[in-house]
């Protein structure tokens, strides 16, 4: 009996790979060959439901896809036996992935193609709405593009939340012979992985977004600064850039427009601080990754001293939608001054970890409880850290805070890059406070004194508090040190380290006041 080639989708996303996706893919090919079945294996990104990875999908009639996951290599023979190629049921079947309840709760404006298409296939990218935004942008002048982005309300997704359109406009109007577009893909926050998922699952949307930025500000050269811990993303980006260049979407004549934009990926060298935009630029120039004082802003004096747009991966990736569907379509989502969607990355002690793209305004509790399903340990949630290692620890009574830049700031927290890490009631927040200083001490570039020396002293002061040494005096000193670092540090590294510390101290003071463990006397 002959059959048409059946397309089977297995993610090549790093999280899926870590969970055995390559071995699953190999097993599928092996089984298909053994059974004489014609299977076309397509490697995709991830839909973000990491608890289901490796999530294998089979294309059935009319392109409808059915999902099975999490699949282990040992499950593969059983899946064939069950007839998964024909969409038959199996204990791992999750139905149509798009119809998964946790997909239906999302608004996947940026991640719509992620986990669906072959990341480097221009044909699939186009078939799924790619390059519409670029085509529209090519018909506009730079100022109109910038206005569109301003109107969308898009704010920088790297953490600072600065209005993207305003930044672009500064670059656009600063006189220069050369301008640059730089993508910050040095995603160093613990518990975050949205940039990586996008670069591995839909790199062409990043390329399209950067190209539009180039058109907007009249920059002809872009760089993606990718952290070295992301080898898969790096390779996928390289392949995607090659494909886009081959197809004429990058180069000296973008899609026949006569406009020019070229793109290079550069690999970092493992420093967290290079996620800070000025350090990133120093590193990109081939120097030590050290923070530059601002002003001058990178938008005026950036890479090699030229006006430079530095945006996060997700900021650029939001742009194709904005340009394709219009600023209003994007601004229709969200709340207040936080418009559009946020890619929440849920991790830590949580039942369902992964990436969920949801409109701003959703409460933190919904994220933790409805998406995450509570803790993996089954114990009560005690603290939730939002915004990476420099974000605040929220106690239960603050979980109703909506995901909104201003609302978070009001409770001395930050949304940052959208990382959410869940802790159960076994967490020791004094240890977490110590960890914040340790992290800062380990990752500080060493340029400014509050961060270089303050972080080390912070560890020592917390240790003395925990040990019960002159607790009151040291608690005061800790508070003073945090105020100093917050106010006087050169960049957000030292400036935000007090956020987790002070949130721990404010919301969980009992953890700083435990009787020292008695040392047994001989």
């Amino acid at each position: 009996m002959t059959r048409d080639m059946i397309r089977v989708f297995v993610p090549a996303d790093a999280a899926a790979l870590a969970l055995g996706a390559d071995r699953v893919a190999a097993a599928i090919e092996r089984e298909a060959a053994a059974r004489g079945l014609a299977v076309e294996l397509v490697r995709t990104g991830s839909r973000g439901m990491v608890w289901l990875e490796p999530l294998v999908e089979v294309e059935g009639a009319a392109g409808r896809r059915l999902g099975y996951g999490p699949v282990r290599p040992a499950d593969v023979a059983g899946l064939f036996d069950a007839g998964f190629l024909d969409g038959r049921d199996h204990s791992l079947a999750i139905g149509v992935p798009e119809q998964h309840p946790l997909q239906l709760l999302q608004t996947r404006l940026s991640f719509g193609r992620c986990g669906v298409i072959d990341p480097v296939s221009l044909a699939e990218y186009r078939a799924h709405g790619g390059f519409i935004g670029l085509d529209r942008a090519l018909a506009m002048d730079g100022q109109t593009i910038v206005e569109e982005v301003k109107l969308s309300g898009l704010r920088g997704r790297g953490g600072a939340g600065f209005p993207t359109g305003i930044k672009w406009n500064t670059v656009r109007v600063t006189p220069a012979e050369q301008r640059y577009i730089v993508c910050n893909a040095d995603e160093g926050d613990s518990g975050t992985f949205a940039d990586r998922m996008l670069m591995e699952g839909d790199p062409l949307s990043l390329i399209e977004g950067m190209t539009i930025a180039g058109l907007a500000v009249n920059a002809t050269k872009g760089f993606i600064y990718c952290r070295s811990e992301y080898p898969h993303a790096f390779r996928t980006l390289e392949r995607a850039i090659a494909a886009a260049t081959q197809a004429g979407y990058l180069g000296s004549d973008i899609n026949g427009s006569g406009r020019r934009f070229t793109l290079e990926v550069r690999l970092g060298a493992g420093a967290y601080i290079c996620g800070e935009e000025t350090s990133l630029l120093e590193s990109l120039e081939g120097k030590r990754g050290v923070v530059r004082a601002k002003p001058p802003l990178p938008a005026i004096h950036g890479l090699f001293g030229k006006p430079t747009v530095v945006n996060n991966v997700l900021s650029f990736a939001a742009v194709p939608f904005i340009m394709a569907q219009g600023a209003k379509a994007y601004a229709a989502y969200g709340t207040g001054r936080s418009l559009g969607t946020l890619a929440v990355q849920l991790a830590g002690n949580v039942r369902r970890g992964g990436l969920f793209e949801i409109p701003f305004g959703t409460s933190l509790r919904v994220v933790v409880e409805e998406f995450g399903g509570g803790t993996a340990s089954g114990r009560p949630v005690r603290a939730v850290q939002v915004g990476g290692p420099l974000g605040a620890y929220f106690p239960d009574h603050l979980l109703d805070t909506p995901l909104d830049y201003e609302a978070f700031a009001a409770v001395k927290g930050l949304i940052g890059h959208g990382g959410v890490v869940v802790f159960d009631d076994t967490v020791d927040l004094a240890r977490q406070a110590r960890f914040a200083f340790e992290f800062c001490a380990g990752e500080s570039c060493g340029k400014c004194t509050p961060c270089r020396v303050g972080a080390v002293r912070g560890v020592e002061v917390v240790d003395r508090i925990v040990a019960g040494t002159e607790r009151e005096k040291n608690l005061n000193l800790l508070t003073d040190l945090c105020a100093l670092m917050a106010e006087a540090s050169l960049c957000a590294m030292g400036g935000l380290t007090p956020v987790p510390v002070m949130s721990a101290l404010t919301h969980f003071p009992e953890d700083f006041d435990r009787a020292p463990v008695a040392v047994a006397a001989e």
Binding site: S444, C445, C448, P450, R452, A488
Partner: protein, 952 residues
């Protein structure tokens, strides 16, 4: 007394960040006080203009703002938080507060962190009394370090004492990066970096020790360091100085201004003076550190005489020495005639001393037999620029290079020879100016950190004229001549003749390539860049002048600059980099046998009449002897007596054996010097000289800048050089009567039109003056030929290339060229007597690997270097700087005898020796040469000093 010799330690104002020069101003309010500053000024500098010192540690106004210490935070109305005042530009109507309880808390908090990782040994610290960290701790009122001192710290960090002049004490380091930035921004060497990150960040000379690193020991890091971390060893040994005196460096022609920081009459350290216009606070290893020769044990401080050069020297009184010298000169003149004696002035002595020597020769000896060491370096500059432009000097000030778009360096090695100017040039290159280097060697400028020459034209030694003619040929034949400029500013007929000459195909790069060895494509591209790249400047050195065609090359460069409109505007010009501190001045002061001060010919009757009136004697109207003529005539037996001040022709002049033959033939040689130098071996009277620290006077640098030399200690021998010359003149019967060098300058100003407005009072007032200084330019002249050339119209000269007669051949197949290196200076008399010798203990022969291999020579081998003049032995160093066929050495050590090798060919116009082209052979050897063997013998035999009789 001079007003500028203020008692106490001079502390220049530190604005914290550079103050921009722009004309647009803005007005802001600081602590309620309005202040108007140039646009682009930082809040910190604006505050300092009101006298408000905002606390700071990482900021200093020689460096770009950095924003790391977080001490200088301020509050600004309408701004969030507390921005750093160093990195925040002042804006119109800005309201700044520099003090508030919150700011006080923050600053004290930062200081508390600093001190939690800093040794508390202030009382025994080498920076005690000169420590910004200490000052700031005081300023912010730090009273307690609540963190204690038991935490992580750097107290055990090792000391690096490998540099002979300064110590790096890491435990005192506050990681402000001022040293790293000074190495980058001020010096441009990039030897320092911060290694590690976070708390482990530390200053590192590239991961090794200071001495082994790329560090050139310029001192910029020591200067910039706010703590004890980088401190001069002399300060560690002696403590802080108590007063300072501003003076001028006695090394190269950059003429850096220094503060001699003193304890009484003892120098503690020399610190570059920020208000000195030649160097603006920068220095090099020589001026900054290598001043110890002044008090070296080799200094001769007692006058000595002897009847024959084989006799031991006998110490005598000043009176006896002077009387003996005068009697000898009188005896010789009586016996051999008035013209049988002469004098040599020194480019290392002051203008006033040089003036006196030539006055003594002309008025007391009654002839014009005076010459100077400039004969052997920049005499072609004088001739060439006088002929074409009308003045014997460079056209620009050093600051002009800040505005250059294209820089053409020919036959100069600024990073070694003129390091402080090189740093300024490199800064401009890092800003984007384009560089063309024409040099047989791949000098550092061709490729060094953040500097890359657009074109390196590696010509064969001796072919400068062919190369510059080729550049000019491209300019003329490709229509790149600035015709409007030439029509307006230059003699059109001369230009027209020159243009037709230079357009001849034999001057095309393709034709000259077989002479120069330079790729014609590069020559064409370089010519186009020079002609069309914006303001284009030429900087050149002895690699231009010390040739048979030195004067031709100078004129060829002037032609090229005039043809492209590159004279008389900022960033352009033709600029000699003068070898010695006062080459310009010694030439200005009438040291040449044919010229009175101010380059006026001795046959000019008006000028002669002027001097006859002032000096009260009849003067000879015929030019006297040049140095080579003196030596030739000595060998002939007609020239018998010579008074040499501060000059060592036995080492510095070419064809040593000819020089010493001349010296041996004389009956009375009077040497006035710091040391028993090579020439003193042939002398009969030794008069102790005085170093620049021991006398008052002026030096004139390569940009015509007259700067004061100020006495900081008594003359070791009891008399300053000018006093000795005066005494000798008086003993000869010609009366000189000056109480102070300022009176000599007054006489110079009264008799020399270009110096008319110069006086010590004006020098104190203005700091320094660039001549011409007269009624038309009372404050001096930074740039010459602005609207018209000094001679009226610029004059193009035909520059036919006539190759040297020194040819390579089967016996002498290689070309030797000579030069200097950073750590040593000239004949080494000064630098060899300092720790600088640690960097350069001996002269070596640089040779390309191909030439070495074909001779079986490996790196470090002793080789015999032989020319038609003589032979010496020295060690070989294989060097990729060299091109095959060309070898190179320096002449800093007498025993090397580099000038035993060089020939007596000279520039056709000025007799400047052709040091740069000698045909030689190199072969391995295991012994010193015969000349060197004799040298070692005579080094003892001719320098004996009789022991004084034992006291009872």
């Amino acid at each position: 007394m001079n007003g500028a010799i203020a008692m106490g330690l001079i502390k220049e104002i530190d604005y914290g960040t550079p103050v921009p020069a722009g004309r647009r101003t803005i007005t802001l309010s600081i602590d309620g006080e309005p202040v108007t500053v140039p646009a682009g000024t930082s809040v910190m500098a604006a505050a300092m203009m009101l006298g408000t010192k905002i606390p700071k540690l990482c900021a200093t106004d020689s460096l770009e703002p950095f924003g790391s210490c977080r001490m200088c935070l301020v509050e600004i109305d309408g701004r969030r938080g507390t921005p750093a005042s160093c990195t925040t530009p002042a804006e119109e109507a800005m309201m700044v507060r520099t003090q508030s309880p919150k700011l006080a808390t923050l600053r004290r908090g930062v200081m508390e962190l600093y001190i939690s990782d800093h040794p508390l040994d202030c009382l025994t610290c080498s920076a005690n009394g000169d420590c910004e960290l200490q000052d700031m701790a005081g300023a912010v009122g730090l009273r307690d370090v609540r963190y204690g001192f038991a935490g992580a710290n750097h107290s055990k960090s090792p000391k690096d004492e490998t540099n002979p002049y300064f110590t790096f004490e890491a435990s005192k380091c506050i990681v402000c990066s001022r040293c790293v930035r000074a190495c980058e921004e001020t010096q441009g060497t990039f030897a320092l970096t911060i290694a590690g990150r976070g708390f482990d960040s530390k200053v590192s000379p590239g991961g090794m020790d200071f001495f082994g690193s790329e560090c050139v020991s310029c001192g910029a890091c020591v200067q910039a360091c706010p703590t004890a971390t980088l401190t001069e060893k002399s300060v560690i040994a002696m403590g802080q100085p108590e007063h300072s005196v501003v003076t001028t460096c006695a090394y190269c022609g950059v003429g850096c201004s220094f503060k001699a920081e003193m304890q009484g009459s003892t120098v503690v350290r020399m610190v570059p003076y920020k208000d000195g216009r030649a160097n603006e606070g920068h220095s090099c290893v020589k001026g900054r550190f290598a001043w110890g020769y002044a008090t070296h044990k080799d200094r001769i401080t007692k006058p000595m005489i002897r009847a024959a050069i084989t006799d031991p020297w006998r110490e005598v009184s000043w009176a006896e020495a002077i009387a003996h010298a005068a009697a000898e000169f009188k005896r010789i003149q009586a016996k051999y005639g008035r013209d049988s004696v002469g004098g040599i002035t020194s480019s290392r002595c002051t203008n006033e001393e040089t003036y006196l020597i030539q006055k003594l020769v002309r008025a007391a000896f009654g002839n014009n037999n005076v010459d100077t060491c400039a004969r052997v370096c920049h005499s072609p500059t004088g001739y060439g620029l006088m002929t074409t432009l009308g003045t014997s000097a460079g056209t620009q000030d050093f600051a002009s290079v800040d505005e250059s778009d294209v820089i053409l360096v020919i036959g100069a090695n600024p990073t070694d020879g003129h390091p402080v100017f090189a740093s300024r040039m490199k800064k401009r290159l890092r800003e984007g100016a384009k560089l063309i280097v024409a040099d047989p060697r791949r000098i550092d400028l061709v490729h060094s950190p953040h500097v890359q020459a657009a074109y390196h034209l590696p010509l064969l030694p001796g072919t400068n004229v062919a190369l510059i003619n080729a550049l000019a040929h491209v300019v003329v034949t490709e229509g790149l001549v600035a015709e409007d400029y030439v029509r307006e500013r230059c003699e059109w007929d001369a230009f027209d003749g020159w243009a037709r000459f230079i357009a001849e195909p034999r001057h095309a790069p393709e034709a000259t390539a077989k002479l120069t060895g330079v790729d014609p494509k590069d020559v064409r591209a370089a010519a186009r860049l020079y002609a069309t790249g914006g303001a284009a400047a030429i900087y050149y050195g002895l690699g231009v002048t010390e040739h048979s065609q030195g004067s031709t090359t100078v004129m060829a460069m002037a032609n090229l600059a005039m043809a492209t409109g590159n004279i008389g505007r900022p960033g352009a010009g033709v600029n000699p980099l003068r070898g010695q501190n006062n080459v310009q001045g010694s030439c200005d002061m009438g040291s040449f046998p044919h010229e009175y001060p101010g380059y006026r010919h001795v046959s000019d009757t008006d000028t002669r009449a002027l001097y006859e009136e002032i000096w009260g004697v009849a003067l000879a109207g015929e030019p006297g002897r040049r140095i080579p003529n003196m030596l030739d005539d000595a060998v002939e037996g007609t020239f018998k007596g010579l008074y040499i001040q501060g000059e060592d022709i036995a080492q510095s002049d070419p064809d040593t054996q000819h020089v010493t033959a001349g010296l041996r033939a004389m009956e009375c040689i009077v040497i006035q010097d710091l040391f028993l130098n090579e020439t003193a071996k042939y002398a009969h009277v030794f008069l102790p000289g005085s170093s620049f620290l021991e006398k008052d006077g002026t030096f004139t640098n390569a940009e015509r800048r007259i700067g004061r030399v100020r006495k900081v200690m008594p003359a070791l021998g009891g008399l300053a050089d000018w006093e000795v010359t005066m005494a000798l003149s008086n003993a000869l019967g010609y009366q000189m009567d000056y109480a102070h060098p300022s009176q000599i300058m007054a006489e110079i100003a009264a008799t020399t039109p270009t110096f008319k407005g110069v006086s010590y009072a004006r020098l104190d007032e203005l700091g320094s003056i660039q001549w011409p200084c007269n009624d038309a330019a009372p404050d001096g002249t930074p740039m010459m030929h602005v609207d018209r050339f000094v001679r009226g119209k610029g004059r193009f000269m035909l520059t036919e290339f006539i190759p040297t007669q020194e040819r390579t051949g089967p016996l002498f197949p290689l070309i030797l060229t000579t030069g200097r290196i950073l750590s040593q200076y000239n004949v080494g008399a000064q630098t060899r007597r300092t720790e600088n010798s640690q960097w350069h203990e001996e002269d070596v022969l640089e040779i390309h690997a191909v030439d070495a291999e074909s001779r079986g020579v490996v790196d470090g081998d002793l080789v015999r270097l032989e020319s038609r003049s003589g032979a010496v032995a020295l060690r070989a160093r294989i060097s990729e700087r060299m091109q095959p066929g060309v070898v190179y050495t320096t002449f800093h050590h007498p025993k090397t005898g580099a000038n035993v090798i060089t020939t007596d060919y000279t520039d056709w116009a000025t007799n400047c020796p052709e040091y740069k082209v000698t045909a030689v052979q190199v072969r391995k050897t295991n012994r010193v040469s015969d000349w060197q063997a004799r040298f070692f013998d005579e080094d003892i035999a001719l320098t004996r000093v009789a022991l004084p009789p034992a006291a009872e």
